[in-house]
């Protein structure tokens, strides 16, 4: 079977093959005659290589984040515990843990607690406004969304990537 030219999809001619052979010989000669790369060449290339996504799996890449998280935790603890100098360390830490756990979970419980009152308020508001108000606002939201999409598409066309 005749070899194919991958650029054109047509069979290679004898002249094409001959030209390729000459090019190969020329390249071989250039490589053979050129001076060897410096010893640190590989190291320099490796050093200049940008951070690759797969490198996030390397433990060495996480030293700074670990340091920062430790620092933030320590700062938070220090600021919190400073006014509580009279408490024993264990008690102060327990207070910190319990208070922060409560502070982080309280919005959820607050939302659950106020949900019935909000439902009553929503029903009252719905009864007080004109019947089509909700639909009109939904339409306005859809129009805003559509405008955002159109703006995005225009921006994508204008900015070559």
């Amino acid at each position: 079977m005749e070899p194919l030219n991958h650029a054109t999809g047509s069979p290679e001619s004898a002249a094409d093959l001959d030209r390729d052979r000459k090019l190969e010989v020329l390249l071989d000669e250039m490589v053979a005659s050129s001076p060897a790369p410096p010893r640190e060449f590989a190291a320099q290339v490796a050093a200049a290589r940008p951070f690759a996504p797969w490198e996030v799996r390397r433990a060495s890449a996480w030293r700074i984040p670990l340091l920062a998280t430790s620092g933030l935790l320590a700062a938070s603890l220090a600021v919190f515990l400073a006014p509580l100098g009279g408490l024993a360390p264990g008690t102060a830490l327990a207070v910190w843990g319990q208070l922060f756990a409560a502070a982080l979970s309280s919005p959820v419980s607050a939302a659950l607690e106020v949900a019935p009152a909000l439902a009553v308020a929503a029903d009252s508001l719905r009864a007080a406004v004109t019947p089509g108000a909700g639909i009109a606002i939904l339409g306005a939201g859809a129009a805003f969304g559509a405008a955002t999409i159109v703006a995005l598409r225009r921006q994508t066309v204008r900015v070559p990537r």
Binding site: L72, L77, A102, A119, A133, G134, G141
Partner: protein
């Protein structure tokens, strides 16, 4: 970073209702009656057998109301008796004197106050909740804690530092699970902050309008659940956008870092970005405003990333030229 993630979700929900009430009550509010007509009064000695709803007006309950009292963009004063809940959206609730509310008292975008002999324990049968301040829920916990006598500001600062830690943990988790996608998203920041901010604002407005419309167009519980879903989606978009923004800012800051050094790599870049954007948010007054702007840019970045048909890194130079 001004508040906990859950706080933000809650507050967004509050803002949805604010927007709903504003839009639904815009006309009455703009044409707000002046003088005595601007106040809806249930006089002393009278009894209203059903709910009282006011749009853009102050409400004064001096008599009895056998139902709920709901106010939109107006304060509510209770010196009489209300059997249902009292909800003020974009206004304060004041319970004074011998006023009594059997249900919950809720102020969204305002405060709940007690004047004279009134108090939460004596005057309210249900819960008292105010979502007016960013840290309302957190502060309410502080007020009920044994630390009530301790100055609040160091505690708030401590809490905010802890929230920075949570933001960092979330961003690093996203980087660890989707490094390539986050890297692609971060490349879309350069020189387009205004555009991204506008996109973010538009996305937030879209979400608010949709959620408000759902609350007003559907039965309350269904509408509130769907509105909460819309807000949750917005929040997830913000988390992704912020992680990408941290990475973009950090890469810019650490571009001189050399391979092998501690500051080299995307994890260090995310950390640097978080510190660069998060620490200024701790500054009183200006900090929350700064964080709000950062959040809008982040949402815009996430929306733009989601809308991109093809990640940049998969395109070869030839493909870019062809495009």
């Amino acid at each position: 970073m001004s508040s906990a993630p859950a706080h933000r979700t809650l507050l967004r929900g509050a803002r949805l209702l604010l927007a709903a009430s504003f839009l639904s009550g815009a006309a009455p509010a703009l044409a707000a009656p002046q003088g005595a007509e601007a106040v809806m009064i249930v006089p002393e000695g009278t009894r209203r057998p059903n709910d009282v709803t006011a749009l853009g007006r102050r409400v004064e309950i001096r008599g009895d109301v056998a139902g709920a009292v709901v106010g939109s963009f107006g304060d509510i004063l209770v010196t009489g008796r209300v059997t249902g809940p009292v909800v003020a959206i974009g206004g304060d609730v004041v319970v004074a004197g011998s006023g009594r509310v059997e249900g919950d008292v809720l102020a969204v975008g305002g405060a709940v106050r007690f004047d004279g002999a009134a108090s939460a324990a004596r005057s309210v049968g249900g819960h008292v909740r105010s979502l007016g301040a960013l840290e309302a829920a957190f502060l309410s916990e502080l007020r009920t804690s044994p630390l009530a006598g301790v100055t609040v500001s160091p505690l708030l600062l401590s809490f905010r530092l802890f929230l920075l830690l949570l933001w960092l943990a979330m961003a690093l988790l996203l980087l660890r699970t989707a490094p390539r996608a986050l890297g692609d998203a971060s490349t879309m920041v350069s020189g387009r902050l205004v555009l991204l901010g506008a996109l973010g604002t538009s996305a937030v407005l879209t979400g608010l309008l949709l959620a408000s419309g759902l609350v007003l167009a559907l039965p309350a519980r269904v509408g509130l659940a769907l509105a909460a879903a819309v807000v949750s989606i917005l929040y997830a978009v913000k988390v992704w956008g912020l992680a990408a923004l941290f990475l973009a800012v950090g890469r810019r800051l650490l571009q001189g870092a050399r391979r092998g050094g501690a500051l080299f790599g995307d994890p260090a870049a995310v950390t640097a970005g978080l510190l660069a954007l998060g620490v200024p948010s701790l500054v009183p007054t200006v900090g929350p405003l700064f964080w709000a702007l950062v959040s809008l840019v982040a949402i815009g970045l996430a929306v733009r990333t989601l809308a991109a048909r093809e990640p940049q890194s998969t395109r070869t130079p030839l493909a870019r030229e062809a495009a």
